[in-house]
Amino acid sequence: MSDHDDAQSHVKLYWMIGAALFALTIATVGVSKVHLVHPWGLIVGLAIATLKAGLVAAIFMHLKWESRFIYYFLGVTLAAVIILFAIPIWDFEYLRPLFVEHADVAAQGHEAAAHPPVHGAEAPASSHP
């Protein structure tokens, strides 16, 4: 089949992409070690992960030389995923003030009962409104 001779000529390219992915993994671990200020740590981490995913998808999964039908499917899927992400997250972001803050009280109670607290101190039990 015709597109398989492309696979051979890309061997060199695959090695380069492999190396790039290694480097990016080291980068992402390094960045998270540095504890950036809240929004930036998240944004940089996600950017690196998206870049790595993009490299794997474009080169390893031959998406760069794919037929338009596959792009249509992936476009529809991407739209569905964006809807699946956007609406629940936006909803819970809005609902936050309505939550009854039992969480830490119960968790702490349960934690102490299950075993001695191992890791960092829990947030102090906020008083119930």
Binding site: F99, V100, H102, V105, H128
Partner: protein, 263 residues
Amino acid sequence: MVKALENYGWFLPVQASDFAADIDRGLIIIHWAMALIFVLWGIFFVYLLVRYRHRDGHKVERSHMSLAVSMTPDVAVLGFEILLIAVYAVPSWSRMKITVPPAEGAVQVELMAEQFNWSARYPGKDGKFGRTAPDQVDFTNPFGIVAEDPAGADDVVAVNEMRFPVDETVLVKLTSKDVIHSFFIPEFRVKQDAVPGMALPVWFKPNRVGEYELTCAQLCGVGHAIMRADVKVEDRASFDAWLASKKAAEHADAATPAAVEQW
């Protein structure tokens, strides 16, 4: 309770809160529109069936009606819907569900739904709710009111019974102890799911003295059908009298040793 039966007829129950008139107007407008659309399409449908039925000598006309003409009913329906949304739905919805009325002027009630009971709590004279804690919760103390908190001392707890003064906005803080229930009083046209872990505000202004019924609209287990509470709307004076009598009855129970089992 039999007197309450005349609140319900073949169509909508009696309107007993300020939202009821608003919602009923929407229901009636839409159902007239639905009936109109259905009848018009029905007549046209029957006409087509009779006019173009298969009979000898009847030729098929291959030509079709122009698309623009055929889309007029759809555009009309869409126009009606947009009008309905802009004029009626968005403003009423924001009044009923988005803009929470200020707590000061309203009668505050904390309503806890649990599997198959509605426990209501009134703040009493000091207007403040006492602190609660999950570990204090037991049969005699459904809210788990912490004893040493002074604000909680005068709180009145009523199980499966709610009273509201007439013509005063009621602000209910709705929560649930175990599963999802739904606070629904048909006569007030008010409904809101009680979600465990969330305290959702519900508000309405009863404007008709009488006896109504609170029912659970969300499947909550075996006793979902028998989970109801009596709702009574009365004038301010008898409402305060009821609060006082409830408080007195509570003290009486607390005094008798039988109510407190400790060993």
